[in-house]
Amino acid sequence: MENKSPLTEALFYILLSVRKPNHGYGIIQEVRELTQDRVILGPGTLYGAINSLLSKGWIRLYSEDTDSRKKKQYLITASGREAFKKEVRRLQELLDNAHFMEE
């Protein structure tokens, strides 16, 4: 899956939060901590984002545990990592060029 447009802030932080297996509520908490309460993901936003990431193949279900009481966990895939790195390169380029403003 090719991504031409930049990642949204929500997608960027969700991908970051599933570098290790993580569940929905855990993702909300982690994004809150990482951004010092600046980004608080609404459950509707997160649910839609997780489904779109799953269908893109950027994340996958971590445990195929059939025990329904256990919270569903998600984990980033190789193509998810690739998309994330690509975005980091794009952001890095922006930052590298930003100093020209001060010249």
């Binding site: 509707g44 936003t45 649910y47």
Partner: protein, 171 residues
């Protein structure tokens, strides 16, 4: 306590439910315009209304996800769901970024567009029946359906307006 109300605008409905909760009445169930309230502490809960998106997995998966995020699914009415979260557990907004808000209102707009087409066809059918049979009851049905179609159309415009506002925000 039971109250009867008909809402087309889910944002207005949400505001009303939160206002009722502020007065100490928490909605417990909904059926065809009838809302059943039970006593609660003022502002005990924060309510949100969602429209299920069929491309986002099953209803069971949706419910499981919401419960795991600390949100209670109060009632499902066809594709609409009433959700709530105790106010003590922090703020509760279902959609928190422009991308997902645009998708949410797009989903609502599609829902009402389908409803409008169905309603408009019924309306046309009633009109033809009225003209042919000259029956007053059929005429009244036509007027009622015409009114409903108008209300739905207004809602579609409202969704479109919101989507355009959010798109401007993104630019």
């Amino acid at each position: 306590m039971v109250k009867f109300k008909i809402y087309y605008d889910k944002d207005a409905e949400e505001d009303w439910l939160n206002q009722m909760c502020g007065q100490g009445y928490a909605v417990q169930s909904f059926f065809a315009g009838f809302y059943r309230f039970e006593k609660c502490e003022p502002f005990e809960y924060r309510y949100q209304i969602d429209l299920l998106n069929t491309s986002h997995g099953s209803y069971e998966e949706y419910c499981q996800f919401m419960e795991e995020s600390g949100v209670t699914v109060v009632q499902r009415w066809f594709k609409w769901v009433f959700l709530r979260k105790p106010s003590s557990e922090g703020p509760f907004e279902l959609y928190t970024d422009t991308t997902s808000l645009i998708e949410h209102y797009g989903n609502i707009k599609r829902f009402f567009t389908a409803a409008f087409i169905a309603e408009a066809l019924c309306c046309l059918y009633e009109l033809i029946a009225f003209v042919v049979l000259k029956n007053v009851i059929l005429g009244c049905c036509f007027l009622l359906l015409l009114f409903l179609s108008g209300a739905i159309l207004k809602n579609i415009w409202k969704c479109q307006w919101k989507i355009e506002q959010y798109k401007k925000e993104m630019e």
